[in-house]
Symmetry: D2
Subunit: 259 residues, 4 copies
C-alpha cells in the first residue's frame, strides 16, 4: 500500500505538493491515513518533465521523511508535470530499481497495489515483456513488470485498453495458479503530456484515488494532501480518468476487466 501524487499544470516547485501541505506526500510516508499500512518507508521517488521529452528521476531506498536530498531537490526543481511516490513494499526488495515512478522512454508510471501470489506468476508475467524491452526490466517488482507487459499490448496507442488487457491476462494467470489473493491496481501513467489514472481491483477493494482540477491544474492523489476529502473527487472503483492535455478530464470504466 503505497501513496502517490501526480501533478499537471503551470510549472510549480515540487515541494509545493510533495513537502509543504499539512498532509503532504512526505508526511504520508510516515503517517498515511487511508492506507492499511500507515508507514510507507520502503523507498520513494520523484519524476518530472522539464528539459527533455524523457523525465528526470530521483529515487532512493531510504524513507522519504528523512531524506535531505529529496527536500532540496523538491525546493529547487520546478515542473509542469511530475509524479511522486512513497513505497510500502509488498514483498520485493528495497532497491532503487524497485522504487516508483518507473520511466520508459517518454512514459512514466507508478503503482499502488499488487499482483497477489506474485512469486507464483512472476515468470508468466515477465514472459509478456517484449524482447526489445527486456533490458528495461531493471528490478523485480510486479509493478514494473505490469508496465512492460502493457507496452506489448499497445500501451503507447491506447493506454486504457492496454491496461485493461494486461490486468485481464494477469488475472487469468492468477486463476490458473489458483491464487486467492486479489489483483489490485491503483496507478498513474503519463507520456509527458496526457495523464491516465486507474483504480481497479479484482476483489472490488482497490486502494483509494482522488483527483481535483481547478483552472489548468490537475492533481491526482492517493489521499487528500490537505486533509479535506470533500474538496476531492474519488475515482470510482473499476474506473479511470483520462486527462488529455487541453481537454476536460473524462471518467471511464475499465471495460475489458471484469471486477
Amino acid at each position: 500500500m503505497c501513496r502517490f501524487l501526480a501533478y499537471r499544470g503551470h510549472p510549480i516547485l515540487l515541494e509545493e505538493l510533495v513537502a509543504e501541505p499539512e498532509h503532504s506526500l512526505i508526511h504520508q510516508s510516515l503517517h498515511a491515513t487511508e492506507a492499511r499500512t500507515g508507514t510507507n518507508g520502503d523507498g520513494f521517488g520523484v519524476g518530472w518533465y522539464g528539459e527533455r521529452d524523457t523525465p528526470g528521476l530521483y529515487r532512493e531506498v531510504h524513507p522519504a521523511w528523512s531524506d535531505e536530498n529529496l527536500r532540496s531537490i523538491c525546493a529547487q526543481v520546478r515542473s509542469g508535470l511530475f509524479f511522486a511516490h512513497v513505497r510500502a513494499s509488498t514483498g520485493t526488495a528495497t532497491s532503487r530499481a524497485n522504487c516508483h515512478p518507473f520511466a520508459l522512454g517518454r512514459f512514466m508510471f507508478m503503482h499502488n497495489g499488487q499482483i497477489g501470489g506474485w512469486h507464483a506468476v512472476r515468470r508468466q508475467v515477465e514472459a509478456m515483456i517484449p524482447d526489445n524491452l527486456y533490458t528495461a526490466r531493471h528490478g523485480t517488482t510486479d509493478s514494473e513488470a505490469l508496465l512492460l507487459a502493457a507496452m506489448a499490448l499497445g500501451l503507447p496507442d491506447d493506454p486504457v485498453a492496454a491496461i485493461a488487457a494486461v490486468l485481464s491476462r494477469v488475472r487469468r494467470m492468477m486463476d490458473g495458479a489458483a491464487i486467492a489473493e486479489p489483483l489490485r491496481f491503483t496507478a498513474a501513467l503519463t507520456d509527458g503530456r496526457d495523464i491516465w489514472a486507474f483504480r481497479w481491483a479484482s476483489d472490488a477493494k482497490p486502494a483509494t484515488l482522488y483527483w481535483r482540477q481547478d483552472s489548468a491544474r490537475l492533481i491526482v492523489v492517493s489521499e487528500p494532501i490537505d486533509g479535506h476529502r470533500d474538496d476531492w473527487e474519488a475515482i470510482p472503483s473499476g474506473g479511470c480518468i483520462i486527462a488529455r492535455e487541453g481537454h476536460p478530464v473524462r471518467v471511464e470504466q475499465l471495460m475489458a476487466v471484469p471486477a
Copy 2:
C-alpha cells in the same frame, strides 16, 4: 522514541530475540506499541560481544524491517551479551554514526530519549567530552555526546554515579538556556560483563523499560517482545537496574538526579 533490547545469558543466536518473537525488535521497528511514534525507521544497530573484549557492530541507515543483512547476521551470530536498537530520530540526521548502539573501547551504549532543545545546548554538552575521547565523537546525536561526557565523569568506575552526574549537569545547562522541553534518558550500558539500564526523565515521563530474569538469562526491553506485559518487571521511573555478572539484579534510584 526508539526501541531497544539487551540480552545477557548463555550464548544464543541474535535472531532468537531480534527477529523471531511475535513482537520482536524488528517487528517493533514498524509497529511499536508503547511508543509515541509507532515507526522506528531511522536506522538500526546490533552490537555483540564474542571474539574480543570490544563489541562487533552492524549499524545501518535503512529501516530494520526490510534489511536482509540484519536478518542474515542475526541468524548466524551467537552471543552471550548483545544489544539491539531501532531508531526514531528526534531531529539529527540518519547516518551510520548516529545509529545506536555506540561502542567505546569495551563499553557499549544505547539510548531512547533526548536532550530537549539539543541545538541550544549541544556546544556545552560537547565541551564536557574529554580531549582524549574527542576523536570518538563520530556523529551529531545527543545520545553519543551523553556517553562521551559521562566518560569524563567517571563512568568506567561508577556508571550509575556518572550517568546521574551527566544528567544533572545537562539539566542545569538546559535550565540555563531556558529550555522547556524535558530531558529524557532511558538507556542501557555494558562493559561486556555487567549491564546497567536506566529510566529517568526530568518531567517524570521517561520512556518505558522492562526487564526479566530467569535462570542465567537477563533481558531488558523497551516493550515486552512477547506482548505479555505481566511477565516483565517495569524499571521504576527515576530508577535503574544494576546487573553485575554473577550477582542478583539490583534496582536502584538515580539518587543524584532530582526528577
Copy 3:
C-alpha cells in the same frame, strides 16, 4: 573484473584474510594489481558458514575500503569456510542483490567475468532457470543467472559438468546472437563442505586465479594477498580445482567447453 577470495580450514576470523594482509581483499578493492580495472568499488560481499547449513551473508553497495560494518563483522566472525568478493560492475546496477557471493540453499557462489553482450542473451539465459528457482532470481546480473541456470543442469550432483554445460550453452546463445565479446568465467562454488574453483574464457584470456594449500588450509584468490606470486599456484586457463573435504585438491580441465 572483480576480485575474490575463498577459504576453508580451521576456523579463523574473516579479517585474517579479508582485511589484514598487505594486499588483502579490502586493499584490492581500491588497488587491484592484476585486474584491468584497478578499482573494485561497486559493492562487496562476505559469506560464511557457521551456525547453519546455509551461509550468512553481508553484502553492501558501498566500496569495501570504507565500510565500517565490514571491518567490524570481519573482526568478530570466525568461520572455517568463507567467501569474500569486491565488485567492479560490467554494466549492471549497483544493488545488494547484484553483489556476490550469491547464496542458494546450502550453496554459495561468486564470479569474476562476464557474459559478453549480456543484454542480447539475458532473456535466453534466464529462460534456463528452472521454475522452482525462478523466485531466487533477485538481481539482474549475468553471474546470478549462470548459477541458477547451472542448477537446472545438475549442479548439485556434478558441479563441474553443470558449469561446463551452462558455459557451453551460453556460448552457443552468444554465437547465435553474433556476439563478438568473450564469455569469461572465473568463479568459486561451495556447498558448505567442498569447494570448486573455475578459470575459463572463450577467448582463452580468463581472469587470474590462484590457490594455495598448507596443512588443512585451502585459500583461493584472484591475486595473491601477500603480494608473493611464487607462493601460489595458478589454476590453468580452461581448468578448475576440485577441493573435496578430506581429499587432496584435484586440478582438472573443464572438458565439455571448447575454449
Copy 4:
C-alpha cells in the same frame, strides 16, 4: 585528494560538464589523472543555484561513476552557477554530511586538501566556529570546519582575507601540536554570484587547480575536463582567483598566509 568543478555562465545542463566531457568529473571519480589517488569514490555532490538564493544540493555516499540519480539530475537541471565534487576521503567517514559541496545560507563551498593531523587539532578548529553556526556543523570533516570557522573571521565581507586568516590560525594550531603533515587547501567558494578559488599549501605542494574563461563562461577545475592542459590556466601555488560577477577575473596571492 578529491576532484571538483565550478561553473558560472549562461545556464547549462549540469551534464554538459559533469558527465559528457571525455575527462568529465564523473570520469575523474574513477580515473583521475593528476591526483595522488586515482579513485575518488567516497561520495560526491552537486550544488546549484536556480530558483532560490540558497543552492540546491544532491550529495550521496556512493561512487559518482555508477549513480543513476546523479546522471538523471545532471541531465535535467540547468543552472548558471554550480559546483560538483567527487570525494576521496582523507580519513573521515563516508556520510552525506561529509560530502561536498557544503551549503551555508547563500554560500556554497568545496575543498580538496586536508588539515594534516586533523584529529589532534579538531577540537581547536571547531572551537573557532561561532555559536550561531554551531548547529550547522553537520559532519566531521576538516573541510566543513574550515568553512564555519572562516565565517567567524569575516568571510561574508572579505572571503580572501577570512580564508587567509583561518589558514594562518590553523597552521599555528598545527605547529602547536607539532604536526609535521601539511595543511593543504585547494577550494572554491561562491555566494551565488561571485566565485573565489584558492590554491595554497603549507608545504608549497597544493593540489592542482585550473580555470578558463571565454565570453561569459568561467570554469574552474581540479584537472582539465577535456584532457588539454594547454587550454587552461593554472592558479599559481599560494594564489587565488576572484571572479566577481560582471568583472574580469583577478588573480591574487593569499597575502596573509606564509607558505
